[in-house]
Amino acid sequence: MNVILILIILSLGIALFFLGGFIWSVRSGQFDDTCTPSMRVLADEDHAKPFPNSTKNTKAT
């Protein structure tokens, strides 16, 4: 069952990589602001015509 060691090492490697990513992201201030990022996503509207939310069950063209 030595292969289980390989898998554990690989899994730990992946986990450590992401742990590093987590530490980096906290230190570099990625999560200092947990409010505006969620709203900023909505800011870039890159389409001309709005999605026809208001028209109910009708052909929109």
Binding site: L7, T36, S38, L42, E45, A48, N53, N57
Partner: protein
């Protein structure tokens, strides 16, 4: 949220860099459209293949006795097509669309984008060609043979470079949570794919897994489980966190929760793989570890699901009006259902009932049809009008699609639950006298055939819905003008940001300029090299049999096993008798790890549409197998197994034998030196003649060089080694596999082997 408010937010966000001039750039929409079209096309192909599989399960003649579309070969085509072609392209569509906008940057390189696109489509086409031909490794969701595996690696690296490159060149300092999900996808899938693809080639389209038996099983399900986690789940969660707020036009319920969702999921998911191997020969502590981590997964999964659903708080009126949101809500609900059910199935006592049954099929289709399917449809309905700068052609049609798809899903999943529980209970049912109530496996099959019919209706409905979507999207595209690129402006968040030079050495310069990326790529390269070097050496010494009577397959059995792999028998027949009384009564002695040391790859299977075959050897005469393979209903009335007439007519290809023996020897199977140059062929001939003689006693005249002879040899060998008595104490330095097989039992062979 009003447009004015949105602009305020961008102004606030970019205020620290006010002094820097805003840059104008263009989002690449062409690549998004390409992936979107590929998603729809391959989705239809994959689902149709699935429907054909479903029909064959109650009407085996639906393959028209045509080997290339028989269930065993079609099933991997279906799973690969829906996972890697439909969801794969869907994921790339979502990532290429959202990543550019989240990073406020065009994709890193147009060339890499198109290389990625065409490379991925070429891989899918090669899969669609090779799998029906029976070119398969038989390892679930990793069936493609080694040249295609290498191509996958190359294309995946291209995708990763494109992803990381775009992130490094982003103009938005904060990495939105979706980006983290994308990074996790790219990196983890690479490691999983490489680890599970360690094979030794034996010709251009044949290879053997470097791992054997229980080790191969563990690697495979470490891969298999995490493929579900990091291919089907994380990229789609990233898409959920982008497209749901966009469609609802309100921020995600709790951004903080989404961050916790990501990090918790990443750290827990990777350890849950062993839950696919409960009650097998895997060490008990590993099984318990897998079970505990599986249960822990409920927390982050449900956190994410609730975060998604609560995003719609106060916006449920939009769900009523917007089909895109309807699809999204069902997708998130299905995610919640599947991630509650998954951990439940990972509990050992539940698993003892559910494993190998259609319950698993129901579970994966809740995820595939509900989570991945509905979310993909949702994103497609959202993206198409935007790509074409128009409105969706018909909301009414999209609503029809929604209800038809939902109905289709119910017609699929509910019968499969009923079938799964029915099978599980019938297999385990004892009479008051302590005998199996349904000793004939066929009784349990016949019982659930009506459920298989209902399932096919569900699948048909689901596909009909997709066709409605195709028409709707086509008309949408027709009504608008494709926007190849979208212009955008943003202020870079750092001064040193400079466009990458496009000289002949731009890759090198880029790497030098990015020590982090360079390090990551170097580590990856070293990892690959190291694994190729170390794993075979490391594992070979472990392949010393723990049960001394277990011997390598004879040449004829080896070729028979390769045909068994080619025909995808493992799709319906497990080779793992679990240590339950109901199973040892039905099949015989439970399976032991030491019995599989020469199994490259392992063939334990994950589904029992037919009975387990691990103790098949010696149960029936050769003639029974011959008749059964020619027409299963001649020996087992009501069987849903396909006919295999081509095994009777096709000549056994023995030219590949030396390459196969050499390959297996390299990974530790103790065939003596020079065995493949003469002795193996002689041995094969003798064993064939023996089987032909046996068939004659069953009044069957067969040619000794047909494929069916090899298959019979393999089936008669299965699980018989441990019956050899007394076991020899000395390690088998040399092995001369012989053809002592007889049709009625393994005693003759076993005695001979033991004597050696």
């Amino acid at each position: 949220m009003s447009l004015a408010a949105s602009q305020n937010i961008s102004a606030v966000a970019s205020s620290p860099a006010r002094s820097v001039q805003a840059e104008t750039f263009k989002y690449d929409n062409a690549i998004v459209r390409a992936f979107a079209i590929a998603t729809v096309v391959w989705g239809l192909v994959g689902m149709t293949a699935g429907l054909l599989c479903a029909v064959q399960l109650f009407f085996p003649g639906a393959n028209l006795d045509f080997q290339f579309i028989t269930f065993g070969r079609l099933r991997p085509l279906h799973t690969n097509a829906v996972i890697f072609a439909f969801v794969g392209n869907g994921m790339f569509m979502g990532i290429y669309y959202s990543l550019q906008r989240l990073c406020k940057a065009r994709m890193f390189s147009d060339f890499v984008s198109w290389f990625h696109f065409w490379g991925w489509q070429a891989i899918i086409v090669s899969a669609a060609l090779t799998l029906p031909l029976g070119l398969t490794t038989s390892k679930e969701y990793a069936e493609l043979e080694w040249p295609i595996k290498i191509a996958i690696t190359v294309v995946w690296v291209a995708f990763t470079i494109n992803l990381i490159g775009t992130i490094l060149r982003r103009r938005e300092k904060h990495m939105y949570v979706a980006i983290w999900f994308y990074i996790a996808t790219a990196l983890t899938v690479a490691v999983l794919h490489l680890t599970n693809s360690m094979v030794i080639p034996a010709g251009w389209f044949k290879s053997y897994s470097m791992y054997a038996g229980v080790q191969d099983a563990l690697v495979q399900w470490w891969y298999g489980h995490n493929a579900v986690a990091f291919f089907l789940t994380t990229p789609y969660l990233g898409m959920m966190y982008y497209f749901l707020p966009k469609a609802a036009n309100r921020p995600v319920f709790s951004y903080r929760l989404s961050i916790i969702h990501f990090w918790a999921l990443i750290f827990v998911y990777i350890w849950a793989g062993p839950h696919h191997l409960l009650y097998t020969a895997l060490p008990d502590w590993a099984q318990s570890l897998g079970m505990v981590f599986s249960l822990m997964l409920i927390a982050p999964s449900w956190g994410g699901m609730l975060n998604g659903l609560l995003t719609l708080r106060g916006a449920w009126d939009k769900v009523r009006q917007d089909p895109m949101l309807k699809f999204m809500v069902v997708a998130i609900t299905a995610y919640g259902m599947a991630t509650l059910e998954g951990p439940t199935l990972a509990i050992k006592s539940v698993n003892s009932l559910s494993h190998y049954t259609d319950w698993t099929i129901a579970h994966v289709h809740t995820g595939a049809l509900g989570w991945n399917g509905f979310l993909t449809f949702s994103v497609l309905y959202w993206i198409f009008p935007r790509l074409y700068n128009t409105r969706l052609y018909s909301i009414k049609l999209a609503n029809y699609h929604f209800w038809i798809a939902l109905l289709g899903m119910m017609f699929y999943v509910v019968p499969m639950y009923v079938a799964g529980v029915t099978e599980g209970l019938m297999w385990k049912q004892f009479t008051a006298d302590g005998f199996l109530q349904y000793p004939n496996f066929l009784e349990t099959v016949v019982q659930i055939v009506p459920m298989y019919k209902l399932r096919a209706i569900g699948g048909t409905l689901y596909i009909a819905g997709v066709w409605l979507m195709v028409y709707n999207l086509y008309r949408t595209a027709k009504s608008g003008v494709f926007v190849k690129e979208t212009e955008a402006q943003a202020v870079p968040f750092r001064r040193e940001h400079a466009p990458v030079e496009r000289g002949p050495h731009w890759i090198h310069r880029w790497l030098e300029a990015k020590p982090l990326t360079f390090t990551v790529l170097s580590v990856l390269a070293i990892l690959i090299g190291g694994m190729v070097e170390i794993i075979p050496m490391y594992l070979v010494k472990e392949n010393v049999p723990t049960i001394s009577s277990v011997k390598p397959y004879t040449p004829l059995e080896l070729l028979g096993r390769d045909i068994y792999i080619r025909e995808g028998c493992v799709g319906c027949h497990s080779q793992m008798v679990r240590p339950f009384r109901s199973e040892t009564e039905r099949y015989g002695e439970y399976s032991k790890a030491g019995e599989f040391v020469y199994d490259h790859p392992f063939l334990w299977g994950s589904k029992r549409t037919g009975p387990d075959l691990h103790r098949e050897g010696g149960k029936y005469p050769d003639a029974w197998h011959y008749n059964h393979l020619e027409n299963p209903r001649s020996t087992s009335p009501g069987s849903i197994m396909p006919n295999y007439p081509w095994l009777l007519s096709q000549k056994l290809d023995t030219t590949s034998l030396p390459a196969r023996i050499q390959a297996l020897r390299k990974i530790g199977v103790p065939y003596p030196d020079g065995f493949e140059n003469g002795p193996a062929q002689k041995d094969l001939q003798e064993q064939s003649e023996k089987i032909v003689a046996n068939l004659k006693t069953g009044s069957i005249t067969a040619n000794d060089n047909r494929e069916i002879i090899a298959v019979i040899a393999y089936l008669q060998r299965l699980g018989t080694d441990i019956k050899a008595a007394p076991p020899v104490a000395t390690p088998p330095a040399t092995v001369q596999p012989t053809a002592e097989l007889d049709s009625h039992g393994q005693d003759a062979r076993a005695t001979t082997t033991a004597a050696k």
